[in-house]
């Protein structure tokens, strides 16, 4: 079990020594139950740091923001940023390193091993508690969560409220880190694609109606894009403002610009958007599940990415986010890549 005091001690040390500019971690939210991201700049604030099953967020997105912010500053602080990562999040850092979006010196990674559990799913939790509010959720001994509600403390088996992705996790300890908290415990997940296979096993027409129903709900708020640590393109194909509009730009020029996807949330446009996103994340998505968590319409977006992950594994024996020196999936090839589908 990871002791939060150890994390705090290390945080105080690196802040006092001036090793990092600030630390991105988790703190208690004002509503009391879930956690929120915290930016710790001084050793006094370290007290706020927490580590419990509500620390669901993938904080690596903030590294993308940090890079952008740094690029705008005149005299940027060149020290690294401290970041608290779980196993899945650490793989996101590896992908960013792999793509040379960030440098290894830009981050100081405080890795936390989830050991045999993981983080919870907010929706599953509220269902479990029948709408009661959890005041505190803690790791308990052996695969249980201890939940404190207004009516007292209850013990819940972790498997019942763990996030889907944690149940299928293949990397419960950080693949890259500067300091590691917790133990490197083997976690057996013999079926990493179990939930996906349920959809795959449906007939073609059923799969279509499933996805049509799901993606028709999309309101194109682009929350999935905003939260994704891999969606860092400066210009996105779904935005129509890819070219600068100057005073001389004629109406005709504007009208003739390539518009790949319409803004309106129609079936066809939603499909193109989500397909493009899935393909862009092929071999890069590390299954942190953030897109699905933030989706206001509860679209199971994870499956699209999971499908690509599975194909990458099966067709090309490629695992995203384990080796920073490996080239990315679509920028490399092997002579023996399958081509049975080609005429």
């Amino acid at each position: 079990m990871v002791n939060v005091e150890d994390i705090k001690k290390e945080a105080i040390r690196i802040l006092k020594e001036g090793k990092v500019k600030y630390i991105i971690g988790y703190k208690k939210s004002t509503n009391g139950s879930m956690s929120v991201p915290a930016f710790i700049e001084s050793s006094e604030d370290v007290e706020n740091l927490i580590w419990d099953p509500t620390c669901v967020y993938n904080l690596t997105r903030f590294l993308v923001d940090e890079k952008r912010r740094k690029a705008r500053e005149k005299n940027p602080d060149e020290r690294p940023v401290g970041i608290i990562v779980k196993g899945c999040d650490s793989r996101a850092i590896i992908v960013l390193l792999q793509e040379k979006f960030i440098n290894r010196d830009d981050v100081y990674i405080l890795g936390i091993s989830c050991e045999t559990t993981g983080v919870l799913d907010e929706k599953k939790l509220s269902k479990k508690l029948n709408g009661k509010k959890a005041e505190k959720v803690e790791y308990d001994e052996k695969n249980n969560f201890a939940i404190t509600t207004a009516d007292g403390k209850i013990k819940v088996p972790a498997d019942e409220i763990l996030a889907e992705r944690c149940l299928e996790c293949r990397a419960n300890f950080p693949a890259i880190n500067d300091v590691l908290f917790g133990e490197k415990v083997e976690r057996k997940s013999d079926k990493p694609f179990e939930s996906l296979e349920k959809i795959e096993s449906l007939s073609k027409e059923k799969r279509w109606s499933f996805w049509k129903e799901q993606l028709d709900k999309c309101i194109r708020c682009y929350a999935c894009r905003s939260v994704c640590p891999m969606c860092y393109c400066d210009e996105c194909v779904v935005d129509t403002i890819n070219f600068a509009v100057t005073a001389d730009t004629t109406a005709e020029e504007k009208a003739q610009r390539i518009k790949w996807v319409e803004k309106s949330p129609a079936t066809s446009e939603n499909f193109v958007y989500h397909l493009v996103r899935a393909i862009h994340l092929a071999g890069r998505c590390i299954d942190c599940g953030e897109c699905e968590r933030v989706c206001p319409m509860d679209i199971p977006l994870r499956f699209l990415n999971k499908k690509m992950e599975k194909e990458a594994k099966e067709l090309f024996d490629y695992d995203a986010g384990f080796d920073p020196d490996q080239p990315s999936l679509v920028s490399c090839f092997k002579d023996e890549d399958p081509e049975d589908f080609i005429r």
Binding site: R207, F271, L275, I279, L329, V330, F333, D337, R343
Partner: protein
């Protein structure tokens, strides 16, 4: 005139092999269905998945990507990249429930005019029974 459904196929042909192959078919007066809209691209490796989705989105009933045989790429390895990427696109389209016949890839060299006509003939024959592609098509 019969009212038989005539599929519209968008074919992304690489400039160095497949496009030359289709030219050869043309100048050799080989007959093949006129359902194809050829688009010459510099390399099959330059075909972005977005082009493919976009073609379906704008009403294509089938999409073909065709490039040089492995080892023959004018840019040495573009078709290897294409092979990988197209495999993923194909799996993804199948996963969301699009008929797998609607999206195909072929290797056609500049000397294979005959093969090009055969690829198109087979393609048309396979997607004719499926009817128009409406799943990803934008409503006008």
């Amino acid at each position: 005139m019969t009212d038989e459904f005539e599929p519209r196929i968008v074919a992304f042909l690489c400039k160095w092999c497949s496009s030359a192959g289709s030219d050869l078919a043309g100048v050799s007066r080989m007959e093949y269905p006129s359902n194809v809209l050829p688009i010459t691209v510099m390399c099959s490796g330059s075909v972005s998945p977005l082009y493919i989705f976009s073609a379906f989105n704008k009403g294509a009933d089938g999409v073909l990507v065709s490039g040089c045989h492995p080892g023959d790429c004018h840019y040495l390895k573009g078709n290897y990249y294409a092979r990988r990427r197209i495999a993923l696109v194909k799996k993804l389209l199948e996963f969301i429930g699009l008929e797998s016949q609607r999206f195909q890839m072929s290797w056609v060299s500049a000397a294979e005019g005959k093969k090009y006509t055969q690829v198109i003939k087979d393609f048309v024959k396979e997607i004719k029974p499926l009817g128009p592609q409406t799943k990803l098509r934008r409503n006008q």
